[in-house]
Symmetry: none
Subunit: 411 residues, 2 copies
């Protein structure tokens, strides 16, 4: 099954919005057995849209469109698809009722212009939108499927994952491409490469190695006519990687450090708290992105101002003696928050996020302290002096440090 993506949106062409939708869809098509041959980003101009849809109908089995389903005059994806299929748009009373209910739920009257979003052509099956007012279209005629989804990424992703992708999987009969990624920590790229060196160089399954923010990744890609065969091809190589690298592997595929730490804390019945300076609350935010984190995360004290560190229980003399950005203060922060918030594990992060240095300490310098029951450890990190990057990487490394200490913590 050959597919193309059409992303409609002047704001993408003006460089004001990144087209994250196409990358999201592209990453998921291989596992559906769908081959993507082209992504086109274009303006909302109906003639060009119709011409591009016609070209797509000639060369693709499925055309996946995003954007242009809003209620305004600019939103003309429905009109373009209707014209490409030679059909007439009609108001669907059921869709009107759905929309009115949605607005009522928000305590609002449905504005007149939203009626555009309650329309369809005869070839369309509606893809419900649980996140917004624009339903998606699954239009099918003469062997071509056109899928139209909203451009707002949060709406698109849910509609794609829950509606469009499962339908597409049922219909595709192509080669299934599977991948599995093993994420390691504590070993360099060369060392990981050496340890599994005998696995490189095959075509199928194929093994790749990549240096990432959260350690060295190994990725297996296997291709076969069915899901089952692709899986069978992959398994022996996956088993060998697991047995060779063992505890250096902290996660698989989409697993994140915050999920792994959360799982371990729950297994061991432990709780965690943090005191953050240069990461400014990002660690807490990342940890609480995990549903159910309230079971093990007590909270974080974002002690951005130095005086607030003292309020939060860090000895002011210690700060004066070693400087606020120091190994000693990171450890004291970890211990103070562990005790102050009655947690089992405390994390303390202090550093210079940048862009400039602070008290002669270069931007990108970060100290992370972790205090469990009885043991306090700390580590110094140096990142490139880019503020958002320093925050992100410090959080990932802090969580992986906690992960390794938890592996060694009894209970």
């Amino acid at each position: 099954m050959r597919a193309e993506i059409l992303a409609f949106g002047t704001e993408i062409l003006m460089g004001e919005t990144q087209d994250t939708n196409s990358a999201h869809i592209a990453a998921r098509l291989p596992a559906l057995g769908v081959e993507l041959h082209t992504v086109t980003v274009m303006a909302d101009e109906v003639d060009e849209m119709v011409a591009t849809l016609h070209r797509g109908m000639a060369r693709s089995d499925v055309i996946i469109c995003t954007g242009g389903l809003g209620p305004t005059k600019d939103d003309i994806t429905r009109e373009a698809i209707a014209e490409a299929f030679g059909e007439t748009i009609e108001i669907d009373p059921e869709l009107v009722a759905d929309l009115k209910r949605m607005f009522q739920g928000r305590g609002q009257e449905m504005p007149e212009s939203n009626i555009k979003q309650a329309t369809r052509i005869p070839s369309v099956t509606i893809l419900p939108n649980p996140r917004g007012s624009a339903p998606g279209w699954w239009a099918e005629k003469n062997g071509t499927i056109i899928i139209a989804m909203p451009g707002v990424p949060s709406e698109m992703v849910v509609m794609w994952e829950e509606q469009a992708a499962p339908r597409l999987k049922e219909r595709s009969q192509g080669t299934v491409i599977l991948s599995r990624t093993f994420k390691t920590i504590g070993l360099g790229e060369a060392l990981v490469g050496e340890q599994v060196g005998s696995l490189f160089g095959q075509e199928n399954p194929y093994l790749g190695i990549y240096a990432r923010q959260d350690g060295i990744h190994l990725r297996i890609i296997s291709k076969a006519p069915t899901d089952q065969e692709a899986r069978a091809l992959m398994e022996p190589m996956a088993a060998e990687i697991v047995s060779t690298l063992g505890p250096a592997i902290w996660g698989v595929d989409d697993e994140t450090p915050e999920e792994r730490v959360g799982t371990l804390l729950k297994q061991k019945g432990l709780t965690m708290a943090a005191m953050e300076s240069c990461t400014g609350g990002l660690l807490a935010s990342v940890v609480t992105d995990v549903p159910g984190s309230s079971a093990y995360f007590k909270g974080s004290l974002v002690t951005y101002a130095t005086e607030v560190k003292s309020i939060a229980g860090v000895d002011a003399d210690l700060i004066k003696k070693h400087g606020v950005v120091s190994k000693e203060v990171s450890e004291a922060m970890a211990e103070a928050v562990r005790d102050g918030l009655n947690a089992d594990v405390g994390i303390g992060i202090t550093g210079v996020a940048g862009p400039g240095p602070q008290d002669d300490i270069p931007a990108g310098t970060v100290y992370v302290g972790v205090a469990t029951k009885g043991i306090t450890q700390s580590t110094e990190m140096r990142f490139p002096p880019d503020r958002p990057l320093v925050k992100r990487r410090a959080v990932v490394q802090a969580l992986l440090l906690v992960y390794r200490m938890l592996l060694e913590t009894p209970r």
Copy 2:
């Protein structure tokens, strides 16, 4: 001058690499007076590439290509351009000498396969590559310019900024494209659209409307031979938007809520602190993403566990009486953190991030309290029950509430 971008690369279509090059180029074209109408990402297949180049030659003044300039058999961008122009590729002895020098500088012999990168067609002017072995091509024939640059972003960006963009600016006939975005809050898309409805439908200046996390955006795009004329075209429409929507507009262009709040706090000499529950530190992280935020941001207490709210100074009886997710508790949190961290403005956020309900309160319910000197306000919000989305939107809305209260705060 009308342009299109062609990004060649199977790895982008497989979802393994994000096409950051196109977004980088797209963001810079308007200021060069170049209008981008299409971005196409496609595989390295020579027939499709030639067909796409031919289509581009018919509809664009300039075609900007990235990728496919490496030394391997897969790298066929040069071949495709030669075929599209009907010219023959020849080895250029000067380029061979350059390449050999580059490899010598690395202490290596030039591999035989790299000779591909020392070739050109008669219509080509070479764009040097200071970062790698693939020189770029500036090919020009019968009124069409084809620019080919490497796909590696670090190489592409330098070649684009230092070579291709300046040349293109010289050649573009001075049609300047300006844009201005007005960001509004408190009104729905349909309502904003209705209020400025008479401004839609013109070609130049063009008005677009977009639903975003931080409210509804209106964007004007104007085109004219000079900057001054483009500005003159835009101003009447901009003035009408400002006078119609007035205080609903909180920001222009790239301005963020955290920057607008930071600017106001600095102007008024005030400091801010937060107590966050369901946003889990995201507000603090966003506020501290702004360089210089330590001047006005004291910190945030991420009181994820209910008991920690009491430790942080919220009356336990009040929590028992109204429930932890309530208007009253959000206000008490705001006041407690304002006083506890010696700040002028306190923010309290409590809610249910989801995915499930909590104590019968549906996911997506958030209360934000803001306490300035003497005045405490709060607001209830309901978002779709998606955890990361609830966090992000609650933070944006909390900051916009602070913004509106600060506007009314004397000093």
